[in-house]
Symmetry: C2
Subunit: 157 residues, 2 copies
Amino acid sequence: MRSNVAKKQLESKTTTGTASRPYRIEEQVGYLLRRAHQRASAIFQVGIGDPNITPTQYSSMVKLNEYTELSQNLLGRLVGMDKATMQGVVRRLKERGLVDSRPDPGDARRTLLSLTTEGNRLVTKLLLNGPAVSRETLKPLSQQEQRQLLDLLSRIV
Amino acid sequence: MRSNVAKKQLESKTTTGTASRPYRIEEQVGYLLRRAHQRASAIFQVGIGDPNITPTQYSSMVKLNEYTELSQNLLGRLVGMDKATMQGVVRRLKERGLVDSRPDPGDARRTLLSLTTEGNRLVTKLLLNGPAVSRETLKPLSQQEQRQLLDLLSRIV
DNA sequence: CCCATATCGTTTGTGTACACACGATGACAT
DNA sequence: ATGTCATCGTGTGTACACAAACGATATGGG
């Protein structure tokens, strides 16, 4: 009973005169994004080829593979990670000998990051599995729908 | 140079004869889902009306508001949370006096959860802001695109 | 040159998120 | 009734994710 009060109040119109649908948590973007992200992470974990590499570690390594050397902060911006989060990701990659760092000779505030030989070898291997992971995640959709989803997602990011 | 080797190898065909595009991390579903989820969470945090309530806490409370009483495990399934994750979410909600628990009289393994009066009052208030949060998150898209995105997301979950 | 301001990386604290192991309980077949 | 197997909640360990505060360094204006 109590809950119906809340639901009623939510049935206000949006912009059009169309009656808005009841508020269901399962139909909200945020909720769906969380669930979809969970599933994508699970597929990544089993499909990328190394159970100890996480999605964020992977994207960091891919970016370092592209740019050779990057400051920690710039890398964070490129892969969409908070600097505090980046700190942990980099620390773990360094502990595993996949990433190296040196002070930026031109700016004492910065740390320059690069892949080690082993890091380079590992990304090269994982990159072979990358497309399959994406394909598996998108499998429920047709080719056209896959493109649509990628387009829509990139526009709300 | 080294990285070009990896990229070359990834340019294998998918199913059709179409030349596949180069592998860019920014175009992969998993990456886009992570970024989109980040943005949705940020919008939620400022828009839901209580900075101390997180998206998972919110969806748990909404479900408890719908069902009145649920076992912790079932609630977890309904909102897509691991039981270990659920444990933490419920503990925090209980600490704040928003949720109550009692042993299931018919099954000693289960804990039954419900909203307290205060929890009920809070969800009712937050539910008023829910639609605006979703609207804000989807703002970059047209009405039709919004529906499409929700449809595509629910199909890959 | 100096000062206000900004950037960079670190640290701390809180909160998801999941794997794994554990103990208690329930369900079911023999 | 008993033993096997599943379910439920808990605890531990690891890893994102971000806010806030901090010290060190850089930059640009006066």
